[in-house]
């Protein structure tokens, strides 16, 4: 059992591994020649796309994968280049990353922390992935982010909206482009004020788990600052499918706004139930009853069908945006797949581009160098206007969209319309904001 003749370097030099680009996995190795985990020494580099392919978020996951494929295609110089052309940083040349061809492996998170970590580990240990990205739930994102920190690879979070991802559970190796609960609330509040006034009684229904709580905390704080009164905050079981018994008490509560801090299947069902109970036609205290859904997802809004009409919420990005970057992205995605991308697809495409660009600027795949390149990076042209990757918590600060369910949709995907683009400055908070307190980035871990 000697390593001498068949050293890792030796093998690589002989080019035995060239072509496949599968660098030997060295994760968790006590002593290794490489300076960091999964140093791509061949002619290609492997990225790990960890998305839900089974389970309730499988459709989001599928859309994310489409965007990843497109991003890889663009990075390798195929296709029309998409947002690479509009991106303010011009490092990417369409020749892969640092001249290495981009390859990818996919994994199924099943929207379960355990499965997600297992699949991320397999990509790192077996396939030699140097970066992990993806996810469609905060619990999973936080779990995988923790893993990547330990393993010494970069984690580029996908769709994760909880304050905790870049709050108390932030990690030095983890980065989030997507917005969060606080930003949703900050963006929505002024719009709600304009639409519904300052004298309102809000009733909150909240999915009873960490994301729901942070969302509820954020939106309640933001609306109370407007002068709204919070009548009641009711927690609903995550597994609930019929929300009627939670909606029914709203009728006689004296509230005139219902805030649904739900996402995914929960959102579809609670919104459907709320509309069934005639809340939209109700008049309380002489005002029209209103429903607010802080986090909208177009894919899910489809499940609620006509019920979303006229209901306000926030979203990270929407395909109807008219800026150059968004249009370029929608064009290349739409041409390839025949329908416009979702916000999940957009955020993961951006994350892939941002990672590739950061590597190019750093001139190295070393996670610490990449992290340094990303920290405090300001960019534009990726669909959200001028954006800052803040160094203190690895959160992107950019414009947030307030959207409304469209009254007369012209197609299956034309469900939301952008009401307002809330500028980044308005949703920016100090890094030590109490809702994000309690964690530390720690120091960057290159692994190996």
């Amino acid at each position: 059992m000697s390593k001498s003749d068949f050293s890792r370097r030796g093998v690589l030099k002989t080019g035995a591994l060239a072509g496949t680009g599968l660098a030997l996995p060295t994760i968790f190795t006590a002593s290794s020649a490489a300076a960091f985990t999964n140093d791509p020494t061949g002619s290609s580099v492997t990225l790990g796309f960890n998305v839900p392919q089974t389970g309730p978020y499988a459709d989001e996951g599928a859309d994310e994968l489409r965007a990843y494929r497109l991003a890889v295609e663009h990075l390798n110089g195929a296709g029309d280049g998409g947002m690479m052309n509009t991106f303010s940083s011009k490092e990417l040349q369409g020749n892969g990353i640092l001249g290495k061809e981009v390859k990818f492996v996919t994994g199924d998170t099943q929207t379960k922390s355990d499965a997600a970590r297992a699949s991320a580990k397999s990509m790192i240990e077996k396939d030699g992935a140097v970066m992990i990205t993806g996810g469609s739930s905060s619990g999973v994102a936080i779990a995988v982010q923790g893993l990547c920190q330990e393993a010494g690879v970069i984690f580029m979070a996908g769709l994760t909206h909880s304050n905790d991802t870049t709050g108390k559970d932030k990690k030095a190796n983890g980065f989030r482009h997507f917005f969060n609960g606080y930003m949703s609330a900050a963006a929505l509040a002024p719009v709600l004020k304009n639409l519904y006034g300052t004298d309102r009684n809000a009733y909150h229904l909240t999915a009873d788990y960490t994301w729901g709580w942070t969302q509820e905390e954020s939106i309640a704080a933001a609306t109370e600052a407007l002068g709204w009164n919070t009548v009641e905050k009711v927690r609903t079981p995550l597994a609930a499918t019929d929300f009627s018994s939670y909606i029914a008490p709203v009728l006689n509560s004296g509230a005139d706004v219902l805030v649904l801090n739900h996402y995914g299947g929960n959102m579809v069902n609670s919104l459907t139930n709320a509309v069934q109970f005639g809340l939209r036609e109700k008049v309380v205290n002489g005002k029209n009853f209103e429903i607010v859904v802080p986090l909208y997802s177009r894919l899910m809004a489809k499940g609620a069908g006509a019920n979303v009409k006229g209901i306000h919420g926030s979203t990270n990005w929407h395909w109807s945006l008219q800026d150059e970057g968004s249009q370029a992205f929608v064009r290349s995605f739409g041409t390839k797949y025949g329908f416009p991308p979702s916000q999940a697809a957009h955020t993961v495409y951006c994350q892939t581009m941002l990672y590739a660009d950061a590597v190019s600027r750093a001139g190295s795949f070393n996670p610490c160098a990449v992290a340094e390149a990303l920290e405090g990076f300001e960019f534009d042209g990726l669909g959200n206007g001028k954006t800052l990757y803040r160094a203190e918590d690895h959160q992107c600060f950019k414009d947030v969209l307030v959207v409304r369910g469209k009254e007369n949709p012209t197609s299956d995907f034309d469900l939301l319309e952008v009401v307002e683009v809330t500028p980044a400055a308005q949703v920016t908070y100090p890094a030590d904001h109490p809702m994000f307190a309690g964690g530390a980035l720690g120091s960057c871990n290159p692994g190996a």
């Binding site: 029914a248 008490p249 299947g265 069908g305 006509a306 739409g334």
Partner: protein, 340 residues
């Protein structure tokens, strides 16, 4: 007071779904002695019958309209459904609007057929096997069925609206001088389930067929010895049970948008209902269904949640545990069932 009445109403409405599923489960268990873990999947397939009918009615042809643009700036393809073009926009629109009730007509034969195939193709071979084996094979079948549905319909929920005339709310308290509004479709669902349950009971009670089946439930061997082909009747019962589950699913679609795992969501619950009611007891299943529905509705009231946090998450299970420990055979169970 209003709040309490509202929750009772809500409980009845929740309970009707539980009762319908539990009724089908009990029919299968009582007649065939088979524990059917795929029953939730039958409910789900029923719901997707409605989705399919809706999709078929919405089948449309595309006309390229050069004056309008799609999201890529190409000419927009305007879709018109065949139904609308055949019957005219008004009549066609009405047909599409009534997709869910129309689906009932299609769902009955489809579900009976699926029931027959399941019974003849699979369940039949498990009459003599242990209950554990029955649970396992039907559990496997449930996984397969839901994955097949997911493959064709995706993972996200699909909206299927109730007819315009039956959506909205009705003031059910008006009769008593109170102001209790409740969604019309949920009231429809409640009465629908009452009709189905009543139908099944009178079918078993007042027809010869029902009498033979009941005799078979009590003593299968003797009925067989009398020269009656009890097997065929049992197959038919399985078909009927499948149809009950399917109809429950069809009618449920406007309440919550169906998705592929709704069957599994209901499965655990409906088993709890059946066990609480007493395995093999039809009235027990119905009673337990409504009872658990009402209890669940009350547990979600904020007044109760503030005293017992999280009670709405576990109420069903707590009730099941208490009942099973105090009334070992459930509310109305018979001795010797499932206790080998």
């Amino acid at each position: 007071m209003d709040a309490i009445l509202l929750q009772i109403l809500n409980g009845l409405d929740k309970g009707s779904a539980y009762a319908l599923i539990a009724l089908g489960l009990t029919l299968i268990f009582g007649t065939l002695g088979v524990v059917n873990f795929a029953h939730g999947a039958l409910f789900m397939i029923g719901a997707f019958c409605a989705v399919t009918v809706q999709r078929i009615l919405n089948l449309s042809y595309e006309v390229v309209d050069e004056t309008q643009k799609d999201f890529l700036g190409n000419a927009l393809k305007v879709k018109t459904s065949y139904v609308e073009s055949w019957f005219g926009p008004e009549m066609g629109g009405a047909i599409i609007d009534w997709a869910v009730p129309i689906a009932i007509i299609f769902a009955i034969p489809i579900m009976i057929f699926i029931g027959f195939v399941m019974e003849r193709g699979l369940i039949k071979h498990f009459y003599k096997r242990e209950h554990a084996d029955q649970i396992l094979v039907t559990f496997g079948l449930a996984i397969v069925l839901q994955e097949v549905i997911k493959y064709f319909y995706g993972a996200n929920p699909i909206q299927t609206a109730s007819p315009e005339a039956l959506s909205g709310v009705a003031n059910v308290g008006a009769l008593f001088g109170m102001d209790i509004v409740y969604p019309v479709w949920r009231i429809v669902y409640f009465f629908f389930s009452v009709v189905i349950i009543g139908g099944i009971f009178s079918f078993l009670q007042f027809t010869t067929f029902g009498m033979v089946v009941r005799a078979g439930m009590a003593d299968r061997e003797t009925v067989g010895l009398l020269g009656i082909n009890i097997d065929r009747r049992f197959t038919i019962m399985f078909g009927i049970a499948a149809a009950v589950a399917g109809l429950a699913g069809v009618m449920y679609t406007p309440i919550n948008s169906p998705n592929y795992h709704m069957g599994m969501d209901f499965l655990v619950l409906s088993f709890v209902v059946v066990v609480v009611g007493g395995m093999g007891s039809l009235p027990g299943a119905v009673l337990a269904g409504f009872m658990l529905g009402i209890l669940e509705a009350f547990a979600s009231m904020n007044e109760i949640k503030s005293i017992l946090p999280g009670i709405d998450q576990i109420i069903i299970y707590v009730v099941a545990i208490i009942i099973l420990l105090t009334r070992p055979r459930g509310l109305m169970g018979r001795k010797g069932v499932m206790e080998e």
